[in-house]
Symmetry: C2
Subunit: 500 residues, 2 copies
């Protein structure tokens, strides 16, 4: 099975349905398939061959989807670059992947670094093609492309991962196909046959891992170039969006938008969410204000294409709502100690996983690959625990634990509590050095519009609700917390600025 | 991925839930796992090694499931024998597969033919072990079994198939795993986490293909040794059965049982059905009398592990209800002419299929394998057509078409109409030689209890409802129609007895 199966299926059974919106233009699946085959021929005309790496630095768009499918057809290894990256990060990934081409839209410029392998800059924006760049296009040259094999590499997906700095995760057709079935079954992705909104960035596996079953179902792809809550509301209403994937911060921004109630969001049937823990008050508010939607939480990582566990809508009440759900059918998950021995139920340890969705390895990093895949299991670096029904609670990244005294405090537990305060919009906690306890807990918080809260009041409020050693001893107030391209709160940035 | 993943998952997350009922005894998944590992050791103690073939000739039972899983653990290739077979058919499969052991229960005896490869007869019945047989058992010898690879063969599944007499279909772990995901997604098999009733015979892929996701979900296996409608009603009520798979004849027998209304069947949530076309009045009656159940139709064949297309509950009204549904996600289906060119939508042709669920080939039949898998596609031998929404209507086996004059008449269409007559319980049509038209249509019919109907009246009734050339010109009345082990009406038997 290769991922082009999904495209063939859409063309075979839904050829005259809308595949994708590009601004005001709608392309049917028959048209879309013709375009991506012609785009594949265009890449071949440029001399780009099978297994060459081509980087894509673009916001979400119809062209992004075209370029992705054209790469699959031409056997090109796609290298999606993070849209929040500094040009130095992009230059690193371009050099490391030895990409021979970089495709840009209007939001990005070529890095200024010298990149000898990079022989072509392709412009896929909406303005006039800048000098020195090749305009993205289509070709009618009759090229014959081999059908990809399941083992062929689809792309290199750069991640900081668990250890060792940025590296390219090699995912094959078989990896992403396995995730396609896992995600369809566990998160109901691709089951509405309506319209999917690419709200999370397409370079990230949370969205990219979902798009194949959307295509296979013959549903429509719609795009939010970068996340803005009012644009989200407008597009959902305009295109009658039936399903999407959000990170918790996006959901919070949408619910808190002053015009929320003015939009018709009744088309939304399935909202998958993930990539970071969801505060309990937020998911409860979301369910009450979007009663037509079914919420499914996914937990995973780039290295696993990405889904590992899922919490389905039915388990969004009761104690399981704060968990990451259960291992999805198709993935084997264990929680182990430092010697990969299973820890007892209820005890915490490292989450490790096995399945056809686990990456081929890190690009040009055999030692780190061998280390994280030791014994045939992907070592996620995340700390979690199973309850007696197989629900996993992700406590934190191993290195994100705070240790006041001899206690282990898992940040999400504290963050969920702080986020439950009615004045708080977003919260993160970090460790700061403490002469007495080794480490103390500092909260970094942004408040809801026109809300007021003092440091002392928030600390007191927490002490009324949590074990003393879990409560923050200091609070920093910010207008907004710094986010990664995927909308995750950048704790490394917080630590650098406020962690001393 | 190998099929033992499903067993590990049940043990990991549902160790104390009931795995299987053996009479009045309930085994938990922890107990079940220990038993099957000990049964695997027992087989190894007997000298049975990896890739040896072991035939199983048994009715549905707890022991059947144990022996199946023990075979997976020990790497034994299981050869399930059809429970309706004459001993000569069993002898053929035993000789052809070179089985080194045959496992029997009380319903079967060893074939009298000389079978030099068959060195062990293992008795897994409930009485005293007959002389010359080895009692089925468990061993605590510590054997270390290699984890199966996805390419390893699970079993040889004998089928008459499309051409060339009985042959063993080789299915691998990867084949049956692919079907597990396909079936879970398309037929909702394994989604209730309740109890599955093995009502269809376990030797057949319709049931055997379903059992893996049942195990993975930690649900309970319950058994009907051979199909009897009152026993079905009793077991559903007693074990609160939530899901099962039936063939249409079984459903008809259940609905027509005089005690139907006396049983509490409200636990039934999912009823998958397939293996032969469902007459429209029957499925409508079933849906109205089992309103809590969701009906999902599957169409497939042994060679495809087995699922190819599915009709979900939502499409059980309107014109799609008589179709076989759409190709399931994970399987590619085309309808082609004699040169494997796609025929236009609405035109009929041969159904061909591709996917990870397609068999490795026929055991020791390289020429037939190459022929049916030509071009990388499984040629089903079935005739079907697509409608514009991708729904497939299976018209008939190529050779089961009747040709009165120059017309092609597809038997299911006529059979559905005859079965709609209020006096008719079951109907099949066959071709009989006709001096004028080449072939004429003969109906073979059984009537409902205490119903009366004459040949002339049934023919007249049909002529009031169907094109003249599609109507039978003669009718044979039988008390019951002959059935195969899977409950399919045996048209070959009808043709032999009444086709001249």
């Amino acid at each position: 099975m290769n991922l082009l199966y999904c495209l063939r299926r859409a063309e075979q059974f839904h050829g005259s349905s809308v595949a994708s919106y590009s601004g005001d233009t709608a392309f049917t699946w028959a048209e879309f398939s013709r375009r991506v085959h012609r785009a594949a021929a265009f890449f071949r005309d440029l001399g780009i061959r099978k297994n060459d790496r081509v980087a894509v630095w673009m916001l979400n768009s119809h062209e992004y989807l075209e370029i992705y499918y054209a790469s699959l057809i031409a056997g090109i290894i796609v290298v999606p670059l993070n849209t929040r990256w500094h040009e130095n990060d992009a230059a690193f990934a371009l050099a490391d992947s030895e990409s021979c081409a970089l495709i840009l839209d209007d939001a990005f410029s070529p890095p200024s670094a010298s990149l000898p392998a990079l022989r072509r800059i392709i412009y896929a924006g909406r303005r006039a093609c800048p000098a020195g760049m090749i305009p993205y296009g289509y070709s009618d040259t009759g090229h014959c492309f081999d059908e990809p094999s399941p083992e062929d590499t689809v792309g290199l997906f750069y991640t900081s991962g668990t250890t060792g700095g940025p590296k390219g995760v090699i995912l094959s057709h078989a990896n992403l196909w396995a995730n396609t079935m896992n995600m369809a079954l566990a998160l109901s992705v691709g089951q509405t046959r309506g319209a999917w909104l690419h709200a999370a960035p397409m370079f990230h596996l949370a969205d990219l891992g979902a798009l194949h079953s959307i295509t296979a179902s013959g549903a429509t792809h719609a795009y939010l170039p970068s996340f803005q809550s009012e644009a989200f509301l407008q597009i959902v209403e305009r295109f009658r969006v039936t399903e999407t994937l959000l990170v918790p911060t996006m959901l919070s921004l949408v619910l808190n938008h002053p015009s929320f109630a003015r939009y018709d969001l009744s088309s939304l049937q399935t909202i998958a969410y993930g990539a970071s823990p969801m505060p309990l008050p937020l998911i409860e508010e979301a369910m009450s204000r979007l009663p037509h939607a079914r919420f499914h939480q996914g937990y995973g990582m780039t290295e696993t294409s990405p889904l590992l566990t899922a919490l389905d809508h039915e388990n969004h009440s009761g104690p399981t709502v704060t968990s990451a759900g259960r291992p999805v059918l198709g993935v084997e998950v264990r929680i182990v100690d430092g010697e990969d021995r299973d820890v007892p139920t209820g005890h915490s340890g490292e989450v490790i996983a096995r399945g056809a969705n686990v990456m081929q390895g890190y690009w040009k990093r055999p030692e780190i690959t061998a280390h994280v895949l030791r014994g045939g299991w992907m070592h996620t670096g995340d700390i979690g625990r199973f309850d007696e029904n197989g629900f996993v609670t992700i406590l934190d990244r191993a290195k994100d634990m705070i240790k006041p005294g001899s206690e282990n405090v898992y940040s999400p537990e504290v963050e969920s509590m702080i986020a439950a305060h009615p004045a708080v919009l977003e919260a993160a906690v970090i460790g700061v050095p403490d002469p007495k306890w080794g480490e103390a807990i500092r909260a970094v918080v942004s408040l809801r519009p026109s809300a007021a809260l003092s440091e002392a009041d928030l600390i007191l409020w927490c002490r009324g609700r949590m074990t003393h050693f879990k409560c923050p001893t200091s609070v920093v107030f910010l207008d907004a917390l710094p986010k990664s391209g995927t909308g995750k709160i950048q704790k490394n940035v917080l630590r650098e600025l406020y962690g001393r």
